[in-house]
Amino acid sequence: MLLLTCPHCGIAAEETEFNPGGEAHLKRHGPGASDEDFEGYLFLRHNVKGPVLERWRHSYGCGKWFLAARDSVTLQVYGTYPASLAHPSDEVGDSVRAAHPNWRTQI
């Protein structure tokens, strides 16, 4: 069971209070975009074996979306940050790099 902290309401809760929402920081492509861009936005995923950046929703709490850095191999949660950020916060980035010194985001 993952333990996540909602960055909006500050509550630390078990995974069942949240819902996962897939890969974070996808670049949105809409009308006028090329087929390749649209395919990438809709379907192609990094699916990293290691640190992943993903969306979560505090469904049974404040109801807001936020982002999390989590490890898909160890299931360690490196930290959470508001969905308004275009990159993980420094604190979260440092936490990931403590376990993976050469880690770079795929944003």
Binding site: N19, F43, E54, R70, S72, T74
Partner: protein, 431 residues
């Protein structure tokens, strides 16, 4: 459907495996079982093969087998990171059926089912295929409509299946509770030809047949890099040295994107954990397979008497082969309501496998942006039933460089072109 019948090249008599038969058992009984051979060889890898297949699970081995049997190619190595059939092939709940909604799915899964029907004879290896029948329960009005639609579609496709009313479900599955308050049984989609097979035996049988054709199955050999030049792959780096190849086939299920990253292209795949569990053995009480898709619970009784239960997938990426507690709890909670008698069963084992989910919940059998790399993945939660059909279609694709009719609709291009084979809507769940 191509029906090539090229004979595999004959091996020297000494290295040919002895056939399994009643006479073999009698012969070995007479000499204290001292003459049984290893089912497949464990050779040192050569420097180069014509075709290298990454992943010695069911799909990879079946691809190799049909490349040899249907297309006469035997200069093949099948590389396996762990042990043979130790991934999803050894972790699924062994359900076999072909009643899919969309035409391309029905075609390949029905081809697969018909290959399963004669697989033991074809491989001279008992895969214990048991066509005991399979019921998909309809527990909501939406499912009733969905399954009736599937039944009609299957009639048009020539796939034998039928819609049955609750009374018939109860007759086929006496231990079921039809009148559960939350999950009443409103009917079912019944495929009499469906059933189960021994999952390990499928991998072992294919491995033995491949080895007998002179192919190399190399276990404990992890691919760590893929080298290409001029848009063509030249060799793979492995933990047991570099291995050159003319064609590379990636059949690695949950690790497909890891390999695609090495080769420099992307796949529309997400890897999540799918769980199963098995109870203590009890007396025979259920001789069909029951799938309750609304609640993500699948149950059958093994030949040993264990109740084999499959659950739903996790919602987030996971490479741990474990899966999360609350998903298995949800599955068991719902199954206990549908089958009250299992409420006091002790569960013996629980495990997980990493399944490769695509956006339309249909598989990918395709060429790739790297000219001589082919990929077979995306079977998600339903790959075991597809093993023979997938191997048959994939072998044709790899041998000819072009997909045959079975694989044609499952190309990577469909995600860009919008030609989805939308089975997630058809089943309402990850099947």
């Amino acid at each position: 459907m191509s029906d090539t019948t090229a004979k595999p090249p004959a091996l020297p008599r000494a290295s040919r495996p002895r056939r399994y038969s009643v006479f073999a058992i009698a012969r070995e009984a007479m000499r204290l079982h001292s003459g049984w051979q290893r089912a497949w060889a464990s050779p040192e890898p050569r420097r180069r093969y014509k075709i290298v297949i990454v992943g010695a699970g069911g799909h990879g081995l079946a691809t190799a087998y049909y490349l040899g049997r249907n297309h006469g190619v035997t200069d093949i190595a099948v590389l396996e990171k762990g042990w043979l059939g130790g991934g999803n092939t050894g972790r699924n709940t062994t359900i076999i059926r072909s009643n899919y909604l969309q035409d391309p799915s029905a075609a390949i899964y029905d081809k697969s089912l018909s290959l399963y029907e004669t697989l033991s004879q074809d491989l001279n290896y008992n895969v214990m295929f048991s066509p005991r029948g399979l019921i998909m329960l309809a527990q909501t009005e939406h499912e009733v409509r969905g399954y009736k639609r599937t039944a009609h579609a299957n009639h048009l496709q020539g796939v034998s299946t039928e819609w049955i009313e609750p009374e018939r479900v109860k007759k086929l599955v006496p231990i079921i509770n039809l009148a559960g308050p939350r999950y009443p049984v409103l009917g079912g989609l019944y495929q009499q030809r469906g059933g189960t097979a021994r999952h390990d035996a499928v991998a072992w049988g294919y491995a033995r047949a491949c080895s007998a054709m002179g192919m190399h199955i190399i276990e404990k050999c992890e691919v760590t890099g893929i080298e290409s030049a001029g848009g063509q792959v030249t060799q793979v780096n492995t933990t047991r040295g570099d291995i050159g190849c003319e064609k590379l086939v990636l059949v690695a299920a949950g690790h497909s994107t890891v390999l695609a990253d090495m080769a420099g292209f992307r796949l529309p795949i997400e890897s999540v954990a799918l769980q199963a569990l098995v109870s203590e053995p009890i007396k025979p009480c259920m001789d069909v397979v029951v799938m309750a898709n609304t609640v993500h619970g699948y149950m059958s009784q093994s030949d040993k008497g264990e109740m084999v239960i499959g659950g739903g997938t996790d919602g987030s990426i996971n490479y741990t082969q474990r899966g999360s507690w609350h998903h298995i709890e949800e599955t068991v909670r719902a199954l206990v309501e549908t089958f009250p008698m299992i409420s006091r069963l002790k569960m013996l084992r629980q495990w997980g496998g990493i399944v490769d989910m695509t956006g339309d919940r249909s598989p990918i059998m395709s060429g790739t942006p790297v000219g001589n790399i082919f990929v077979n993945c995306g079977w998600g939660t339903g790959g075991f039933k597809a093993i023979p059909g997938s191997g048959w279609a994939m072998a044709e694709l790899v041998a000819k460089g072009e997909p045959g009719p079975l694989a044609a609709d499952f190309g990577l291009g469909r995600f860009r072109e919008g030609r989805f084979i939308d089975e997630s809507v058809a089943a309402g769940v990850a099947h």
